[in-house]
Assembly symmetry: C2
Homo-oligomer: 418 residues x 2
C-alpha cells in the first residue's frame, strides 16, 4: 500500500512576527495521523504572493494532500483567495450559499450591519468545491490539480476543526486507500524522558517494523504512544495489544493512565468510578489546578470548588490556617499545606482535597526556600500525604509543573484509598 503524504501550509504574517502560536497544525497533524495520512512537512509563510506560490510549488513536489489554513480573514483576503484562484486557473465568483451564510450570521447571530469586506467573504474561485462554513463567514475551498488535493480553510481554530471533521477528513478517507492504523497510549509521570527510554530500551528495539513508539513529553509527564500500521487489521491489532500489555507492565510504576487521557481526565474518571468529590486550596498556583480540573466536561459531578488563598490572611480567615504556624514555618511549609487541607474539606464539603503553597518567582525566594520551592498535600478527613518539590524554571513553567505534580499526588492518594 502506498504511503499517503500530506503537507500543511499555514498563511499569515501574524505567524512570522510571532504574535500567534500555531495550534492548528498540531491538531490537523494529529487527525491526519489517526486517519493513516503521514504529515511530512509543515510550512508557515506570510501574507505575500511569492511566498505562498513558492510553498504551493514546493509542497506539491512530495505530498498528495496539501492542507492550507489562514489568509482568508476579512483583513487578509485580498491576497490568498485570488492567488489560489489564479494558481488553479479559475476566476472569482460569488457563491450563493456562502453569501446566504454571511448574511445569516450578520442578521441573525451577530445582529450587526454588514460591511463590504464581509460580503467579499462569499467570493470563491469557480474551480473549487466550496466547503460551507457553519461556524463563521469564510468558506473553505477544495481544489484538485495533477492528482493532488489542495484544501484551503480559515485559520480560526474552531472553524477549521469543524470543516475538517464535517467534510475534509471523511472526503479524504473516501478518496484514498488508507492503511489500517491503531494507537495505544500510556501516560506516565515522575520519570524523565531519557530514563524512561533507558528503562524500555530492550522493549523498543524489539518492536516489529509495523509498530512505532513515540515519546511525547509535556509538563513533567511523558506520553508513550504505540502506533501500528498495516493492511491486516486483525493481525495488526493483536500484535499491538500484546506489545501494549508488555509496555504497561514495564512502566507500571509511573503509569498515570493506560489510555489517551490528560491527568485531570484520569482523575475525573477515578473520582467518578469511586463516587468521590474533591476541592482544592491553592496558593501559588492561583486557581490553575481548579481551572485544569474544570476544563474537563462533566467535572461538576466531582469538583465542588476551590479557595484560592493568595494572601496569607485568606489562608488564616477562610482555611483556618494557624497564624503561629505561618510565623514559625512560613506559608510555604508542610504544616501549612496540611492545615489548608483540613480547612478546605469542611468548607467545600468534599471527600478529598488538594492543597499547594510555593514560590513561583521571579521574586519571593530566599536561601532556604529558593524560587521553585513547593509543598503539596492531598488527603481526606482521615489521612493527608505531603510532598516537597523544587522546580527551577520561570514563573509560567513553575505554575504548570506544580499543577501537574500536585494532581499526580492527588491521583496517588485516590489510588491508595480502599
Amino acid at each position: 500500500m502506498e504511503k499517503i503524504i500530506a503537507s500543511i501550509i499555514t498563511i499569515g504574517d501574524e505567524l512570522l512576527i510571532g504574535q500567534v502560536i500555531d495550534t492548528n497544525s498540531a491538531w490537523m497533524s494529529q487527525e491526519l495521523n489517526k486517519a493513516g495520512i503521514w504529515v511530512r512537512r509543515r510550512v508557515a509563510v506570510g501574507d505575500e504572493a511569492e511566498s505562498i506560490r513558492g510553498a504551493l510549488d514546493q509542497e506539491s513536489a512530495e505530498a498528495s494532500i496539501i492542507l492550507i489554513t489562514g489568509g482568508l480573514g476579512p483583513t487578509a483576503d485580498d491576497i490568498t483567495k485570488p492567488l489560489l484562484s489564479a494558481y488553479f486557473g479559475g476566476r472569482m465568483v460569488v457563491d450563493e450559499k456562502a453569501l446566504a451564510n454571511v448574511r445569516h450570521i450578520f442578521e441573525r447571530v451577530l445582529q450587526r450591519p454588514m460591511i463590504e469586506r464581509n460580503l467579499q467573504q462569499a467570493e470563491v474561485p469557480d474551480v473549487c468545491t466550496v466547503i460551507q462554513n457553519k461556524r463563521g463567514t469564510a468558506p473553505g475551498m477544495w481544489f484538485e490539480k495533477d492528482g493532488r488535493i489542495y484544501v484551503s480553510m480559515p485559520g480560526v481554530p474552531h472553524e477549521m476543526k469543524g470543516m475538517m471533521n464535517d467534510y475534509v477528513l471523511p472526503a479524504l478517507r473516501e478518496r484514498f486507500d488508507l492503511p489500517f492504523i491503531a494507537h495505544r497510549t500510556i501516560l506516565t509521570a515522575g520519570i524523565g524522558e531519557s530514563f524512561l527510554a533507558e528503562h524500555i530500551a530492550a522493549f523498543e528495539s524489539a518492536l516489529p517494523p509495523s509498530i512505532r513508539l513515540a515519546y511525547l513529553p509535556n509538563y513533567g509527564m511523558v506520553r508513550l504512544r504505540l502506533t501500528a500500521r498495516g493492511d491486516d487489521p486483525a493481525g495488526i491489532t493483536e500484535e499491538l495489544e500484546g506489545r501494549f500489555h508488555a509496555l504497561k507492565e514495564l512502566v507500571e510504576e509511573w503509569m498515570v493512565a493506560d489510555e489517551d487521557l490528560t491527568l485531570q481526565e484520569a482523575i475525573g474518571k477515578l473520582l467518578t468510578e469511586k463516587g468521590r468529590t474533591m476541592s482544592t486550596a491553592e496558593s501559588c498556583t492561583g486557581g490553575n489546578i481548579a481551572h485544569l480540573i474544570t476544563s474537563v466536561p462533566g467535572s461538576s459531578r466531582y469538583f465542588k470548588g476551590s479557595v484560592v488563598s493568595y494572601d496569607n490572611a485568606v489562608k488564616e480567615r477562610l482555611l483556618k490556617v494557624d497564624p503561629g504556624t505561618i510565623g514559625r514555618s512560613g506559608a510555604v511549609s508542610e504544616e501549612v499545606v496540611r492545615q489548608m487541607i483540613n480547612g478546605v474539606l469542611p468548607l467545600m464539603d468534599t471527600d478529598l482535597a488538594l492543597a499547594v503553597s510555593g514560590i513561583m518567582g521571579p521574586d519571593g525566594g530566599t536561601t532556604e526556600k529558593p524560587v521553585g520551592t513547593v509543598w503539596v498535600a492531598a488527603g481526606d478527613r482521615k489521612k493527608v500525604i505531603t510532598q516537597k518539590f523544587q522546580f527551577r524554571f520561570d514563573r509560567q513553567r513553575n505554575i504548570e509543573l506544580t499543577s501537574t505534580f500536585a494532581l499526580n499526588l492527588l491521583r496517588k492518594f485516590i489510588l491508595s484509598e480502599h
Copy 2:
C-alpha cells in the same frame, strides 16, 4: 540597507504527529522581528535524515540565517547531530565544557546517576562554535557556510530562550548591519477585526511605506501593532509616534492598553496605580480568571484570592447567595452574580471583586439559557455593574472568552471609579 532574512526549522516527529504545539517558533519570530530580522518561512520536519537535509537545502536558498530547534533530546539525537556534522563537513568530538556541564547537572542538580545517553549530549561536530547550555544538557551549535549562519538549539523552550538571549541574538546583532526597528502596540477589546479594519481604513491606507500595521486577534481582543523600520532612527521614531497618537485617538473607545501588555497586566497596572485590591468569585470559569491574574509577577500586591464556587451549595454557604434567588432565577443570572460580588468582597477583604456564572458546555444548556450564556459582575461595596454575554464555541474557548470579557468589564469598572 539589505533586508536580513531568516528561516526557522523545527525538527521532531512529535510536531508532525501533532502531540506538541510549537511555541518556540512564535517566540523566536517575535525576537528576530524586534531585532530587525525578517522571518520569511518556518518549516517543521520529522526526525528523518532526508527531510532535515531537504529543509536545510531549501531554506538556505533564501535566508542568511537559519535557526534550527529540536532533534537534540536524549531519545532523538542519533539523527540530527551527526547529520549536521556531515552537512557542514565535520566529525563528532566530545566538548569538554559541555561534558562538565552534563556532569554538573546530574551530580549537583538532579542528583541522579548518569547514563550513556546523557554523556552523548556532550558530543558536537568539530566544525561548530559550541553554545553552552546553562539550563540543560544539550549544547547549541553555531555553524557558518557560504556566508550563511546556521544555529542548532534544543527544543526545550526555556533552554532555547536562554541560548537566544545570552548568545544568539547578541551575536546576530553584532554580525549584521540591521535596520532600526521600533514598535508601538495598542490592545483593543470589544470590537471585531473586520469592524476595526473598516473603522481605521483611511488611517491604514495613509501610512507611509516605512510603517506597517498588523492586526493580531486573540481571545476576543485585537492587538494593533505599528512597526517602523528604516535607517534614520530619529526621523522614524518621530513619524511612528505621530501615527501612534493618531491611532490611539481613533480607537480610544475600545482601547485596553497603549503598550504591549496583556489584559491582566493592564489591570494589574491600574490596580497598583490606584492602590486597590481585588478578588474573584468564579463559577463557570473554574479559577481561570484567578489563574490569569496570578500569572503576572507581583500580582500578590493587588490580588488576595478567589472562591471557585462550582457547586451551588458553595455559592450559598461561602458567598451567601440566596437559595431562593437560585431557585427563582437560576445560578446563571444577574441577581446571582451581584450576590457573588457582595459575598466575596468581605470574605476576601478586597476593594473590588469580579464574579462570573455561566454555562460552558457541552452539556447544561436550555432553550432560555443555551450553552455559552454568561453573566458577569464587577464592583465594589458601593456599586456593581453587570453584563450578559452569549458565546457560541466549545467549552475551552467559551472559558477563555468569558475570562477575557469578564476582565474587561472589571477594567471598565476600575476606570469609571473616582
